[in-house]
Symmetry: C2
Subunit: 397 residues, 2 copies
């Protein structure tokens, strides 16, 4: 059992990964109110004059960072009971009304989607809240059920705005085989279209094997069977060296890519699809290094990885998006904003929200046909279960 | 004591970080021969037609990756004796002739410097060879003395081509105070102008405190007193999750920068100067994220860090260098190639060596005055002891 007793990072207003101290502080509700106030100016900016593409815009990376307070209370009770499992609350004990669920996203995610012209989000539990390093396998199982059920509530009540992506009940040192039942439940029973896979359940100590190790194969097998992709996304950092959204996230992304470069994972799973978020960490910026390392190491060229590996557009400035779109093939880039997430403020250099990534993609010097792929077509291809959900919701014919 | 018994990474021809298995294999000399053959085509490419800047070109990031075999034999003997310290060789027991020292760099670093138009390199021991996670404080002390003395030999025999930068005798869990004597010896007695600081002496498990912790203050105090900068550079990875040059290096860079964003380190040490290598890891690509995080966290804007933090140009493709030079102030970029280092091959897309970073800087759309800063002026400012060395060597008036 690994629990960070103190917040390893300085004061952090991030609501995506919310370190433990902030996480508990967030129960008081103050953080949510402050963010709501901050968002007012973000959404006030018009975007219409820049938009040329008017089709579907799928944000493949949204987290439920505005959970109802009762959900966070449930988690606090669970963590408090870690040394006394008999006191642990049952997943079924959480009760949240439909109105509370609607209200939890109405003023933030839905409002920002409307303001920015985003059709919908592939929506998963707060990444930093997964906290796989806390407690044991049962802790993670119960918390995953609670978290995924809440995502299902959101997606069921607002099927035009949200489609579910699940958290997995990972736990350090425990075989990912224990995740397959919850993944199957989420996909077959709740209609989810993908999952998040934490490459470091230890929360910054990297004590489990690389993603290419056979340790992970039962999970890959189930994902292939269900034909759902995974986003490789770490959770909170319990290591004081790593700020969550400023270091641990980027490191997780970079590390995973190099594990793919140096392994035969996709030879064993030719149809497995993994999305590396946050624009791929350091990878596109160092595209030449990775091409060169693959060559030096006598590995296949990294272009071969592009059958299985994809990057999102969570890069919060124009030069970064321009670089991403210059070096990574268009078919491998998925629009995403990580909204409401890692960075919440307005960029004083542009007057727009840092995480309004749609603006950067719109301003990029690429053909409109590429923009259509990035905004929607790639997501529909990589998440094959998505089209059915959108048709059922009346979003697509 | 932590020793990797097996190579955590797949076959790796990198000579900068040389994992342990390769490190020992390198003793046979085969790797050096293969690299020499590979370099022949790299240096055959003319650069003259692109060069407009004709002044001094200082490569601030070169490693001694072509050590004489007897030096590697010494290290092997030391590692073999870790459990029997009485058998550990004394640093003074290593004997290498001047001719061997000259020959060790003549066919690689010196030849490539000449071919590419690089005047000289700030030269430090092989980064991956520092191996701070191996053995204990005494192991690191003896190995640092041997390594730094060899750098001194190179710099003394070829003072127009090489200026010394030292390795520090770090060891996991041991106060960096134990590094100050070796740093002082290298700077005051051997004429070195800087040092490499490993932010993770554990080799990929990140068990020591962040660089902003008071744990590190005795080292910062000595660096300030001596007025030498440090390059924040990890060593080999003993963690199978992290490929050294493809993940651990990038992660170390990204992690260190975020430690600076979230701390008051430079308030306490306003004249301390730290260089983040490999183009700053993921940082320039995510410049918007870091500006936004600093703002959300109520930290000073990252522009304030630019008094103390610098980035090198070890980014191995044109779009990466273009992005670096677009977002990072020119005064904060130092030319470097990491040659002979992380990537050794020829880029099939350009026909030139991946690590011929001078070509990218020459092709970048920046004023020549900026190029002069990047190639030489910034290094002379940030390494104040450098000018004296170059004047003594007849490189500068």
């Amino acid at each position: 059992m690994m629990i960070a007793d103190s917040d390893p990072n300085p004061p952090n207003t991030c609501t995506c990964c919310l370190p433990r101290r902030g996480f508990l502080r967030g129960l008081a509700g103050g953080g949510v109110a402050a963010l709501a106030a901050q968002s007012a100016s973000a959404q006030a900016q018009p975007v219409a004059e820049r938009a040329s593409y008017t089709g579907l815009v799928i944000d493949c990376h949204g987290h439920y960072t505005t959970e109802p307070p009762t959900m966070l209370t449930w988690r606090k009770r669970q963590i408090d009971a870690i040394n006394d499992p008999a006191q642990s609350p049952a997943p079924s004990s959480l009760t949240v009304s439909d109105d509370e669920v609607r209200a939890s996203v109405a003023d933030r995610q839905v409002k920002l989607q409307t303001a920015r012209g985003i059709s919908l989000a592939l929506f998963s539990p707060r990444a930093g809240g997964m906290g796989h390093h806390i407690g044991n396998a049962r802790t993670s199982r119960d918390w995953s059920i609670v978290s995924n059920d809440m995502i299902h509530r959101v997606a069921t009540l607002m099927p035009r705005n949200f489609v579910g992506v699940c958290q997995l009940p990972q736990s350090p040192g425990v075989s990912p085989k224990n995740c397959t039942a919850e993944l199957e439940r989420c996909v077959r029973e709740l209609g989810f279209v993908g999952c998040n896979v934490n490459p470091d359940p230890s929360g910054g100590y990297w004590t489990d094997p690389p993603l290419s190790d056979r340790f992970w194969y039962p999970l890959w097998e189930k994902m292939v069977e269900l034909d759902v992709p995974g986003m490789v996304h770490v959770s909170a950092s319990a290591n004081p060296n790593f700020h969550a959204t400023g270091a641990h996230y980027m490191n997780g992304d970079t590390t995973a890519f190099m594990q793919f470069v140096t392994s035969d994972l996709f030879k064993d799973f030719p149809t497995l699809r993994l999305i590396i978020p946050h624009g791929g960490g350091a990878v596109p910026y160092h595209w030449g290094r990775y091409r060169g390392l693959a060559q030096d190491l006598k590995r296949p060229p990294i272009s071969e990885l592009m059958r299985n590996v994809f990057f999102d557009t969570c890069v919060y400035h124009q030069p970064g998006i321009d670089l991403l779109l210059k070096v990574v093939p268009t078919d491998n880039v998925l629009f995403a904003s990580e909204m409401v997430g890692a960075v919440n403020g307005i960029d004083p250099e542009t007057g727009y929200a840092f995480d309004d990534t749609k603006r950067y993609v719109e301003a990029a010097a690429i053909p409109d046909a590429d923009r259509a792929k990035i905004f929607a077509r790639n997501a529909l291809r990589i998440y094959p279960r998505l089209a059915g959900r959108l048709t059922a919701a009346g979003v697509m014919p």
